[in-house]
């Protein structure tokens, strides 16, 4: 299944891109993160790291669908 993955801030730095098309067999957001974590050296998931699917915050256990856009969001630092 192909999904689009977006990386923000330091995650973009680590993965070397803002977004990429990923072919994955991961069935959940969490499983996808763990696959990409190994590939790009992303940090361990923690409470300050969040995911969004199709521009909405998403639970880590949310199932993936073909064509989903998944954003991985490092700890926010606005303000």
């Amino acid at each position: 299944m192909k999904v689009r993955v977006e990386y923000f801030a330091q995650f973009g730095q680590l993965s070397g891109c803002d977004n990429e098309l990923v072919e994955t067999d991961a069935s959940t957001v969490s499983a996808l993160y763990h696959q990409l974590r190994r590939r790009h050296g992303l940090p361990e998931p923690g409470p300050a790291i969040r995911a969004a699917v199709n521009d909405e915050f998403a639970d880590w256990e949310r199932p993936l669908c073909v064509g989903d856009v998944i954003a991985f969001l490092p700890p926010v630092s606005g303000g």
């Binding site: 923000f8 801030a9 300050a48 521009d55 630092s77 606005g78």
Partner: protein, 143 residues
């Protein structure tokens, strides 16, 4: 009553935002602005960039100001967060709240800035005087 959250790539001008808080029934206006400091976590900062997940930031920021309107007896709530390139002294985030009484105005403005800093997907890349740069991770800094 109104609640507005915006991202803005242009410099934030409080004098343009204040009129939206005016109301003849409002006795109290509290504003907060967060500015770019020349140091952070012990390092000398030259400038910084803010980036956002824009759709999500606008949606989450709007939820924050809507919550403030619901939780506190306030009339108008405005929050604007800057994105893009910022210089030292630039306003990074501005919050303005008007209310009949001052207690609610103080509490709501504090709520908005605290929640925005916790929840809204905006990130800060600092450029230091030694030529290096780094994305700030508040979960790792020593402060």
């Amino acid at each position: 009553m109104s609640a507005t959250f915006q991202l803005d790539i242009e410099p934030i001008r409080p004098e343009r935002l204040l009129p939206s808080l005016n109301n003849q029934t409002c006795g109290a206006v509290v504003t907060f602005d967060g500015r770019v400091r020349d140091h952070n976590d012990g390092r000398s900062v030259l400038r910084l960039d803010y980036t956002a997940h824009q759709k999500l930031a606008v949606a989450e920021g709007q939820r924050v100001v809507d919550e403030a309107l619901e939780k506190f007896a306030v009339e108008h709530v405005v929050c604007v967060h800057r994105i893009g390139h910022l210089a030292i002294g630039d306003i990074a985030v501005w919050v303005g709240v008007s209310a009949a009484h001052r207690g609610a105005a103080f509490e709501a403005s504090r709520y908005v800035i605290d929640e925005v800093k916790q929840r809204v997907p905006i990130w800060k890349n600092e450029f230091y005087s030694d030529g290096t740069e780094a994305w700030v991770d508040p979960t790792k800094t020593s402060r």
